[in-house]
Structure formats: C-alpha cells, structure tokens
Amino acid sequence: MAQRRLMMGTALAAPLLARAAVAQAPAPAAPAMAPGFYRFKLGQFTVTTIYDGFRIMPVQGLVRNAPLEEVQAVLAESFLGPTDYRNIYAVTIVDTGRDLVVFDTGNGPQAPGATLGRLLATMPAAGLDPARVSTVVISHFHGDHINGLITAEGGAAFPNAEVVVPTREWAWWTEAGNETRSPAGQRPNFANTARRFAPYAGKIRQLSDGAEAVPGIRMHAAEGHSPGHTIWHIADGAAELVYLADITHRPELIARRPDYETLFDFDGAAGAATRRRVLDRMAADRVRVTGFHFPFPATGFILREAQGFRFVPADWG
C-alpha cells in the first residue's frame, strides 16, 4: 500500500535550502475584479449576462410567511449569512443576429460608489453598446427592473430601442385607480412607472401572453409577484433558454422553499403557485435558465429536491 511505499522513500530531514530574498514591491492590486459579464451560445444566438450589482438588506422581514430562524437555517445550508441578505441583480442580454435584446434594465442611475446600477458601465466591457440595443423587454415594473430605462440625466438609456412590456403589467401600473388596491409597499411603482417610461413615448409595445417580442423570444405570463409578471422563452432551433425574471428571488432560498412569500411580492400566494408550476416545468424539461436574482453569472438549471428545487449553476466555460 501507499503508506509503505511512502515510508520507503528517502526520509528527508535536509536543512531547508536558503533562498536569496527577492526584494520586491507588493504586486499591483488592479484590476480589482474581472468585468461582470458572462457569455454563452444558444444555437446561433449569443447570450450575455451582466452583473448590475447588489444591495445588502436585512434577512429579517424578507420572508413573510416563515419564522426567521427557519429562513436563516435554509440560508446557512448555502453558506449565506443569517443577518445580511445580499439582493443581487443580473441582466440577460440576447443577440439573435437580427435583434439585440436586453431583458430588464437593472437599478439605473445611482450615487457615486453605489454597489448597484452597473449595467450601462459594464456593457462596454462586454462589447455591447446601449445605443445598439434594438429591444428592451421588461418582465415586470418593479424598480430594480425598470429604473435603468433612464440615464442619470433622465434621458433614454437605450435611445434606439423599442420597449416591449406585458399588457397586464402595463395596464395595472398605468391606471391610477389601482393604487389603493395595491400593497402599500408597491404604491411607489405608479409614479415610478410613469417616470421611467417617459423617454420612450411612442416606442412602447404591449405584448399579450404567448406572443413574440421578436423572432425567437416569446412571453409567458407568470403572475403573482406582480400583477403582470412574465417569463421569457428564448429559442434558436432546438436550443432553448428561459429567462425566469423574478420567478424566485435568490434561488438558494426561494427555489428551495417555493412556498415562501417575500416582501417584494404583490400577491404572495399567487406568486408561490406560479413559482411551483414554473419550476416544476423547468426541472422536468431540464431547460437552461437565467434569473434576475440568481447568483452571478446567473445561469444554470433547476433540479427537484426534497422540499422544493435547487438551482444548479451551469459550468463556467
């Protein structure tokens, strides 16, 4: 056995060879981090995910229908801390050859030094010019998805793009009479929607369930998280991808406990039912997915497990 073989090797207690000190300045630290983009092929399409950054928020209060200790235990299984919840944002961009499509726009303009709102700054590193984006697809109108429609100056961040929105989402947040029928935490969306879409007047196309935004990219209603929340099926021939938007918040928590309802949900019960149905389908079909709040690079697969589902990151390549 190896132990014996090892013993037979020359037992070295030789004095350590002294080495000449290499007098050197510390290695330079820059660049601090690789640019936050990741690219993969989907048939002839090219998919790029872009890290828009993160925001730390309390774990306490995040899940509305489970005890804090239980939530913390689920987080701990994924080596996530018990106090600070890191809300992460990743934007999916698909180049079909015909169209350059951005799915949701991230957090948009921020104060200097912010840890989020990085989409526009990161796109050039990935060779993507916002001015060449032909289509912006919005899954739903929560601020972290639409705030990036505008620049710091208030103009269109994607000046040459058509903006495609779910009809039911548009209908809800553009009808002032709905405000009192919305959860208190969601009411700022009414003013924010008007403000963020303003530079795109005349360039907004509403889409109904099952319709195509552009060839190869089709909308599917997945409502609950917001009144008109949608997911998007992207296909080139046999190659398929589903952009899951906010079907889960962080999958380490919400895919594994699909019945959890978060403070971001418009209708938590409907959101949970939709989530179970969609994740079940993703697991059955073993289809590749991207998600807005998935750990970067935010692409992988959904696997069934005991109490729900697990997100399995795709191999980096």
Binding site: V22, A29, P31, R39, S134, W316
Partner: protein, 326 residues
C-alpha cells in the same frame, strides 16, 4: 410539445391589440464572441486571493472512474447537468498575495499549442494584472503534469524567475528516486522524467517542507496522501480568517464529492486517496471553511456541505457567491 406551449399559463387571455411601432431600422452590433477574462478575487483577512482559469481538458468519460460502473457515474453527472459521454476537467490556479508575498499554488499546464483548450493561465494572469516575475513563491501540492508543467515558459526557462519553489518533502522524495519508478502505477511513470525537467531551472531555489508545518507566515501544509505519494493541501490564514487550497482532494466535485469512495484513473493509491478525501471533506463540512480546488468549476471557490444522494452519505460543493466587491 414545445416548452413554449407547456409553460403557457392558463391566465385569462387579455387580448389587447399590441401597439405597433415603427420598426427601428438598425442592425444590432454583433456581440464579440469573447468571454470575460478568467480570474476572480476575494479576501481572506489581509490576503487577496485570485483564482485564475487555466482552461480545461476534455477526455472520454469511459475509464475515468476505476471502481464504479460507467452508468452510475453518468447518472451522477446527469444530475449535475453535465455531459455523460465526455468529461471536461477544468484547471484553476489559486494565487494569494499579502504585502510583498505573492504565492501561486501549483503552476498550471504551462505553454500549450494555440488550439489547446488548456494552458489559458498565462493570458488570464495578465488580465488579472499578475506578473509572473513578481511571484515570490510557487507552492506545489503534488507533481502531476497539469500542476508542474507551467513551471517552464516557452523557452524552457523558469516561468517564475524570482520565485522560491516549495514542495512537499514526501512528494519530492518519491519522484526524484529512480528506483521508485517500477513501484509506481504504469500511468504515473512518466512523472519521473517530467519532474527533473520541470524543476531544472530552479536549482538551489527548491525548499522541501514536511506536513503540518508553516511553510510561509500564514500558510500551513496539510498531508492528504494517496492521489500521489505526497499530495498536500495548504491552509491560508490571517487573523480569524482562513481558507484551504484543497488541490486534487477531489477531481470535479460534482461527482467526486457525491461519491468520495470513487477512485480515478489519476490516483496513485486509490484506497488511500479515498480515505484522505473522506477525512478532509468531513473536516471541511464540519468547519465550514472556504476552499479553492484545482479542478473545481470556475471560479473554483466555495464550501463543502454534507449531502445524501442515492442513499450514499457524501458531500456537495456549494460555490461561493460571485461578487463585484473584492
């Protein structure tokens, strides 16, 4: 049936005529095919850790695991959404920098032909701003070719010209004693010629270290023999923070953590490797220590959790979260 149809909701179909907008006559920019550079950074106390991708090598799955039926291996791979005909073995090198100390753990595949899928470390180091001339120490886990070939540059000179080379004494002893060749598994015998060649430019700068000693301030060797006679892990610590470079304690963790008893074609002593693996993984899961691994999915850092699958008590690799904030 298409997924599109299957995921279609039974939501009330509110048919509102879509506002037709004038087509924007603009061809999208062709996205460049390039991937983001393969490096990733995080902190362990005062250490700045950088993992650098060295590419991958694809080989047939057949024959890779020596003591399990291939169908069983394929089953575990499929659960992880991996290919079941071939196995892509990735390589990721761990760097640790603190003050004037810049350590590289293992040297990568080195210079490879232009079309090779491995040997990407040199380019990715440059992208990460790491100059090989500034590396102060190369610390070797073991002497398999994918770990030592990168000691040489294209001119067969020292790729890390100013570095001291730190090697496990047990590993050095085995591969530098010619009479061990006939006592080594056949597939491992080429190491005897490869070792002197790769270490040649570092004459006088090679330091052998025992297991369980501090090889540099904050860096301690941990014996994990079996995969090779002197296979060694390294703990990197500063203050209350620590991580462990676990080298080849597993090949790809997606299957070797699930089934720690499996033995692979590269193991010198498979039984001993499996015993070391179970002992180390058990310790990592208990202590919840962050790790980097040489054949882990990039960026090759995360944690080890206990996990039962198929009735077998094994482990699971949990990648650490990617963050733009180092």
């Amino acid at each position: 049936m298409t997924i599109a149809r299957r995921i279609a909701l039974a939501a009330p179909a509110v048919i509102i005529a879509a506002q037709v907008m004038p087509a924007l006559a603009q061809a999208p920019a062709a996205a460049p095919a390039g991937q983001a550079p393969g490096f990733y950074r995080f902190k362990v106390g005062g250490w700045t850790i950088t993992t650098v991708h060295d590419g991958f090598f694809r080989r047939p799955l057949e024959g890779f695991v020596r003591n399990a039926p291939i169908a069983e291996v394929q089953g575990i791979l499929a659960e992880n959404f991996m290919a079941t005909d071939t196995l892509a073995v990735p390589f990721t090198i761990t760097f640790a920098q603190k003050d004037a100390t810049l350590v590289v753990f293992d040297a990568g595949n080195g210079v490879t032909p232009a079309a090779a899928t491995n040997g990407k470390m040199i380019g990715n180091m440059a992208a990460a701003g790491i100059d090989p001339a500034r590396v102060s120490h190369v610390i070797q886990s073991h002497f398999h070719g994918d770990h030592i070939n990168g000691l040489l540059n294209a001119a067969n000179a020292a790729a890390f010209p100013n570095a001291e080379i730190i090697v496990p004494a047990a590993e050095w002893a085995w591969w530098t004693e010619a009479s061990n060749e006939s006592r080594s598994p056949e597939g491992q015998r080429p190491q005897f010629a490869n070792v002197p060649r790769r270490f040649a430019p570092y004459q006088g700068k090679i330091r052998q270290v025992a297991a369980g000693v501090e090889v540099l301030p904050g860096i301690t060797s941990i014996a994990a023999y079996g995969h090779t006679p002197g296979h060694t892990l390294y703990r990197i610590a500063d203050g209350n923070e620590q991580m462990i470079f676990v080298a080849d304690i597993t090949n790809r963790p997606e299957f070797m953590m699930r089934r720690p008893e499996w033995q692979i074609v590269f193991d010198f002593d498979g039984d001993m490797a499996a015993a070391s693996r179970r002992r180390v993984l058990d310790m990592l899961a208990t202590d919840r220590i962050r790790v980097t691994g040489y054949h882990f999915p990039f960026p090759a850092n995360g944690y080890v959790a206990r996990h039962v699958s198929g009735g077998v008590q094994g482990f699971m690799f949990v990648p650490a979260e990617w963050s733009s904030a180092v």
